[in-house]
Symmetry: C2
Subunit: 226 residues, 2 copies
DNA sequence: CGCAGTCTTGAGCCGTCTCAATCCATGTGG
DNA sequence: CCACATGGATTGAGACGGCTCAAGACTGCG
């Protein structure tokens, strides 16, 4: 896929996008704050293996979700921004741990309630379907990134994808560590760091600090992504 | 991917999948054969970019789905066996091409019909949700395979995964070529071939022919998968 | 000021990709 | 029945790039 799909979460109220979250957003408008919200950095919204009790919507902050593999490694499956949902795509128990990267405010609804309402609210049932389709497509995009051979391609794809989700401005505020990025891209922290340094010395990006990146040559980045 | 911060619990890679396709299967019991069914090997059920018109259920044979990347490479996103559904997880247009590996018999239903029925049939709506959740989880598993560093780990994971889907018997009939496997695992055909040869000389598998593999030491394979 | 965590950078090794040749199974035509 | 063509699969040699090991720099915080 030449380009990654547009992010499915809509920062603005809904638009006639095929997989539109309007219905879910409407349901969440009256949702209460999640227990323990706001979450502190490093705090878990839920953990791998936990039974799925509630569905979250992020109001502010950023969340990373990851799986611990049997060999002790960690695979980051995604980063979640305001407007995004968590817990929808799970089965009976969570396959990932969701951890706050920053201070996170979130709402929560009981998933059993949601499922119950879906039995009478067809628009909601449809929205749940569409939300899962969106999660699937994001996962496919992630797989496509992981399938890219080169470190440069993966990092470029990550930067462009995340920048798009942040609204497309030139300056990006990265809420995650290099280790998070590395575990997301299937690389080591060293390679990620080296690649970013290389991109900077090539004049493609400017690293104002470790967490702030400015895209200088977006076109060249897109070309690198291949 | 290095040491973890706080391994709070034993990692649990594989969780029993909720395959509650009963409702969908019921709907498909009266479904007509797909147009052009049976498909010949190499024939496409649908192509990347096509508008999504119908949902397929495979009755016999095997299907590979893949995306063509802008750099000309091909990324296989999955293999589909009898009982599997195609077209459920797509948005308005297909992100992948679905191609018959063998002679394939399939049924088809108009997706608009399905969506329409879902507005009055809540069990169906719920089944559609669950099916998409299943597709998402398979995609996550695929991403986990792609994130594994070594060729041996990826091939072992593929063999075990596919063997499980075939029922768990010791002998496997692989409907796909080495190139298909390579594109699925993000490796080259050479590395896949070399790895399989290595596994055979190690006594872990026996390649009766290129398309027939027998698992001799499943435990060692599972250990390799890590 | 020192500590701990994060990030950067260097040197060398190892595994996968690339390029290339060969083998094998199948099918076709003489 | 065999020679040949074809496409898939295997195998080898070498190059390249990311991982490992290791050291040092930077940041935030006590």
């Amino acid at each position: 896929m030449t380009a990654l799909r547009k992010p499915t979460f809509a920062p603005m109220p809904c638009e006639p996008r095929p997989s539109c979250d309007c219905e879910l957003s409407r349901v969440f408008q009256t949702a209460p704050a999640a227990p323990h919200s706001p979450f502190s950095p490093g705090q878990a919204l839920f953990r791998q293996g936990d039974p799925v009790r509630q569905v979250f919507r992020i109001q502010s902050g950023a969340v990373v979700s990851y799986s611990l593999l049997s060999d002790g490694r960690r695979q980051v499956t995604g980063f979640h921004l305001p407007g995004g949902f968590l817990g929808l795509e799970a089965g009976v128990s969570h396959a990932t741990t969701a951890e706050a990267l920053t201070t996170v405010e979130a709402q929560a609804l009981d998933r059993s309630d949601l499922a119950l309402r879906a039995t009478t609210d067809n628009a909601l049932a449809r929205a749940l379907w569409q939300a899962s389709v969106g999660a699937f497509q994001r996962s496919e995009d992630h797989a496509l990134i992981l399938a890219r051979q080169g470190a440069t391609e993966r990092v470029a794809a990550f930067l462009l994808d995340f920048n798009e989700r942040l609204g497309g401005g030139d300056v990006m505020d990265l809420p995650m560590t290099r280790q998070d990025i590395a575990d997301y891209l299937g690389l080591t922290i060293h390679t990620v760091s080296r690649t970013l340094s290389q991109l900077q010395s090539d004049g493609v990006i400017e690293a104002k600090s470790t967490r702030h990146v400015r895209l200088l040559r977006r076109t060249r980045l897109e070309w690198m992504r291949a």
